[in-house]
């Protein structure tokens, strides 16, 4: 009985302390909304940025359209790294982003990827074969790489034939996961996602020629919801243009204008 009462009191105390403990807010924390294709890059860039500036970077990843909708509805992000240039431009037009802060931080490349070595040939001819029953594509309505994949298939005149085989990921990261778990044999993702894998896990891929789709210009902007003191956020955008950041970004397969 004593024991029960004691443990109830202990539990209640623990519970209360969890409720009352609030995380200490970082004044110099940058909250970044980042397009899913840039996940690997951010993971490599974060320690470099934090070391260099002493600021802290907290990134949230998602499909560009999804992040755009969240920002438009007051999501507390300081910077936005999109997978296209349309979303940043629209945020500037709607007054949610700072016009002068905008720049293209990377130009993305699309890849047709399979986790199986030797599955995807270097010309993408597999698309014309009947070897697969499913092909993974990111939702073209909200993910720019999904849109580029549709443009590519349209240019190759294969869209109608392949559409019934589509499995749609909510963003480019989920699309990759459908393929890497073996549930879908191949699909369109960002070249950077393939390059971020250890060499033994890269499977086989075709780098889609960039003339087959609209350029994937990835725009970055400073957001107006940013804290009154936007210096950390500005420092991060400046860091993205620095030679050391550009090296990392290029190594992953992006072009930097």
């Amino acid at each position: 009985m004593r024991c029960t009462r004691l443990s109830i009191r202990t539990l209640a105390g623990l519970f209360l302390s969890v409720i009352l403990l609030q995380p200490l807010a970082h004044a110099d924390e940058v909250k970044a909304a980042v397009a899913a294709n840039f996940t690997a890059a951010i993971k490599q860039l974060t320690p470099l940025f934090e070391q260099k500036t002493g600021h802290k970077l907290v990134a949230s990843f998602g499909a560009t359209g999804q992040l755009y909708a969240q920002i438009n509805n007051g999501a507390p992000f300081d910077v936005f790294l999109a997978a296209d240039d349309q979303a940043p431009q629209q945020l500037i037009a709607s007054g949610n982003a700072v016009a002068g802060s905008h720049f293209i931080y990377a130009r993305g490349r699309l890849a047709l990827w399979s986790s199986t070595p030797g599955y995807v040939d270097s010309n993408g001819d597999i698309l014309k074969s009947n070897k697969f029953e499913k092909i993974a594509v990111a939702n073209p309505k909200i993910a720019p790489y999904g849109k580029a994949a549709i443009e590519t298939l349209t240019a190759l005149k294969l869209l109608e034939q392949l559409q019934p085989k589509f499995v749609t990921g909510e963003n480019i990261a989920q699309t990759q996961q459908f393929i890497s778990t073996g549930n879908v044999p191949l699909g369109f993702i960002a070249l950077a996602q393939v390059n971020a894998l250890p060499a033994t896990e890269r499977g086989s891929f075709w780098v889609v020629p960039d003339k087959l789709h609209e350029p994937i210009e990835q725009g970055a902007v400073l957001l107006k919801n940013a804290n009154a003191d936007a210096s950390a956020a500005t420092a991060f955008l400046a860091f993205l243009k620095s030679p050391e950041a550009v090296t990392v970004i290029r190594e992953l397969g992006y072009e930097v204008p």
């Binding site: 999804q66 755009y68 909708a69 309505k141 749609t168 990921g169 909510e170 778990t181 549930n183 879908v184």
Partner: protein, 227 residues
């Protein structure tokens, strides 16, 4: 935006998924609930805990393990592949299986409760009147448990309609096969098509309310709701 421009396919698909899942669950949960209500086996508590897991697990946990389990490298996926059935993720059948697991406690618990509340006396009396086991089950247990059965069916149906996380993870958003209502709403919201989202979301809200209201009215005070 008017009613004519609503895409009805996700709505029919969702209703079909929920109906099939409900039938599957009732067939499974009636014998299972009966056994759990009557047994004194040491397995009762561990099994009850297992069956209640979907109540507390995030749908992402279920979705993640189903994706691995049913995928070509998983044991179940390997089996379905060797039987020439292909793999189940991104198919309607896969969703039925996922939904059945996900909604299982919503069907099982009301049924088990109903059977437990009957107690053993009516069966003992029936046995003295030479009713067979089957007769006792059909003419005593099922009629006395009808409120529980009704709650189970309605909750399983409604919960499947409201399913989202699992479907998002193993569905692949394929129109006509796995693009159910909740995913369609999510897509509309994410692509800022709020008008379409409102039609579907508002409809869903009204539907869910009417379903629950009907359930409460029909089964009155004797109804036990799971959570």
């Amino acid at each position: 935006m008017n009613v004519a421009s609503i895409d009805w396919q996700p709505i029919w698909l969702t209703l079909r998924l929920a109906s099939i899942t409900t039938v599957v669950l009732m067939v499974a949960a009636i014998p299972l609930g009966w056994w759990l209500a009557r047994t004194h086996s040491w397995m009762k508590q561990p099994l009850s805990a297992v069956f209640a897991l979907p109540l507390v697990l995030p749908p992402t946990v279920l979705g993640f393990y189903l994706l691995l389990l049913l995928g070509p490298h998983g044991p179940v996926g390997g089996l379905t592949l060797s039987l020439g059935l292909g793999t189940l993720p991104f198919t309607f059948t896969g969703l039925v299986i996922a939904s059945s697991l996900y909604s299982l406690p919503f069907a099982l618990q009301p049924i088990q409760n109903a059977f437990e509340n009957i107690g053993s006396r009516p069966f003992e009396v029936a046995a003295t009147l030479r009713a067979t086991r089957w007769d006792r089950a059909v003419s005593i247990a099922l009629p006395l448990a009808r409120n529980g059965l009704l709650s189970a069916a309605v909750l399983a149906f409604a919960h499947t309609i409201g399913e989202f996380g699992v479907v998002l993870m193993i569905g692949g958003n394929i129109p006509g096969a796995t693009k159910v209502l909740s995913v369609a709403i999510y897509d509309h919201v994410e692509s800022m098509e709020y008008a379409q989202a409102h039609w579907l979301a508002g409809g869903m809200l009204a539907f869910s309310f009417i379903t629950l209201l009907t359930l409460y009215i029909v089964s009155g005070r004797s109804m036990r709701i799971v959570r």
